[in-house]
């Protein structure tokens, strides 16, 4: 059902009459300048978003700004982080909209989504549980283990998101190529236009 929706999104939505008519998704992908600007803005927004969240995480780990209260860093830096995240999300959605089927059948993209969810769950836990007694450790150079664990998880999750995001550009495990059976299953290649080509069968 998801794939059917994405096929409609990619090939039908916004399509006018005539043989050469393009859907909005195809028009976006075919737009040389806007597409480039979108990808570039995604990367630049990442510099703002991830760059500032790393500073907050490093403070929570007790690595930097050890003399500055955690709440000061959070209050002053997190608005930038949230704005950066909004920019990353909007540009990311637009990039997805231009090639929904490619991303849907991409193992790196699927893994990236898992880590984004993990990072967001971690933020929620930090916000609603770990941070509740911040008054007790706000000024400490080294916050308690729960805060440090949350920061370490955040750092690791966003590192994975960035790494996996870059790997999406590579076609190592593209559907239709001879790839391990489990990757075919994860990418749902059987439903893709290129089908599933199991490496094990090719080797046999």
């Amino acid at each position: 059902m998801i794939r059917d929706f994405l096929v409609w999104l990619q090939t039908e939505l916004g399509k006018g009459g005539g043989d050469t008519a393009q859907s909005w998704s195809e028009a976006l992908l075919g737009s040389p300048n806007f597409w480039g600007l979108l990808e570039g803005t995604h990367l630049l927004s990442l510099m703002l978003f991830a760059g500032t969240i790393f500073v907050v995480d490093l403070r929570l780990l007790g690595v930097t700004f050890r003399r500055t209260p955690v709440s000061t860093i959070s209050e002053r830096v997190l608005p930038l982080t949230v704005f950066g995240f909004a920019m990353v999300a909007v540009t990311g959605l637009a990039l997805f909209f231009a090639k929904p089927l490619l991303y849907y059948h991409n193992i790196w993209f699927r893994a990236k989504l898992v880590f984004i969810v993990l990072a967001l769950v971690n933020i929620s836990i930090f916000h609603y549980r770990v941070q509740r007694n911040i008054g007790e450790w706000d000024g400490l150079a080294k916050p308690p283990a729960s805060a440090r664990a949350s920061a370490a998880l955040s750092l690791a999750a966003w590192l994975c998101v960035i790494t996996l995001g870059r790997f999406i550009a590579y076609d190592w495990y593209e559907c239709g190529k001879p790839i391990p059976r489990w990757i075919n299953a994860v990418e749902d290649c059987a439903s893709s236009e290129y089908g599933a080509n199991n490496l094990e069968d090719v080797v046999k």
Binding site: G36, G40, T41, L48, V55, T72, I73, R76, L80
Partner: protein, 273 residues
């Protein structure tokens, strides 16, 4: 202006670079080194934005600029060294493409300007809590000249010129972030009007397929955007609000952020043209 235009005699040397150590070791792990490059940019970007926002007079204002510099300088070093080392490695493995890329020339110019502004102007001024020494002034002027040269090159090079809108967008958001009260709303309203006018101009008045008129129209809008942003930036530097730091220290903050935006934007456009 590509490196091939500047150094035509190096063509055969560049053509053989991918066979030289460590390029042939890097090539199979190219994607991993690209990730290292992006991570270095992210670290540099975050640290540089926070430090220079403080020079402008926003962000972590509860701490003196020298305290921010003390805490962030290590991460600025990590970012700059990471960008240069990973860039050299992936550049060697991809040398022929970069040799013929105008975007790569812009990136190298921005990198030089970034190092000059970060280590010659922004860092020393932050360390001195906003006091601008004669040497910082000299580095600022030299760095600004190199930055403007790179920006001009990006704006006038074929195929990569749209990348200028990255720098304009970053500058627009920076000024918006710093602006306060009614000025912020007037500025934002002007930006929205300009964006709407550009859309009408390049979709209805001039058709998307009319490349001969589209390009000058976009360039004209880029100039109007730049004038609008620079006007408000000048107001922030010299206008009503008495800020803690002098106008020059704040100007150093603005440009020291934008120079890394230019470097990152040019780097991204290597892939497109």
């Amino acid at each position: 202006m590509t490196p091939a235009d500047l150094f035509p005699d190096l063509a055969s040397w560049v053509g053989n670079l991918h066979n030289v150590w460590p390029a042939y070791v890097i090539k199979p792990q190219f994607a991993t080194w690209e990730v290292a490059h992006i991570l270095s940019l992210v670290i540099l970007g975050g640290a540089s934005i926070l430090l220079n926002l403080r020079l402008i007079g926003v962000g972590v204002t509860s701490e003196p600029a020298s305290e921010l510099h003390r805490n962030l300088r290590l991460w600025i070093h990590v970012g700059v060294i990471g960008v240069v080392v990973s860039g050299l490695l992936i550049g060697m493995a991809n040398a022929e493409r970069l040799y013929n890329s105008a975007a790569f020339t812009v990136k190298m110019i921005a990198l030089v300007a970034g190092v000059m502004l970060t280590y010659g102007a922004s860092g020393p001024v932050a360390r001195a809590d906003g006091e601008v020494s004669a040497s910082a002034k000299a580095w600022w002027l030299a760095g600004l000249a190199v930055f403007l040269f790179g920006l001009g090159l990006l704006a006038t090079s074929k195929l990569i010129a749209p990348g200028v809108f990255h720098v304009l967008t970053a500058a627009a958001l920076l000024v918006l972030f710093v602006a306060q009260g009614r000025v912020r709303w007037i500025y934002l309203a002007g930006l929205i009007l300009l964006i709407a006018a550009q859309w009408v101009g390049t979709h209805i008045v001039v058709k998307q397929t009319d490349f001969d008129r589209l390009d000058p129209t976009n360039k004209a809008f880029a100039c109007v955007f730049a004038a609008w942003i620079l006007g408000f930036a000048a107001y922030q530097l010299f206008g009503a609000r008495a800020a803690e730091n002098r106008p020059l220290a704040r100007a150093i903050g603005y440009v020291s952020i934008l120079v890394w935006v230019l470097a990152a934007a040019a780097g991204r456009w290597i892939a497109f043209a």
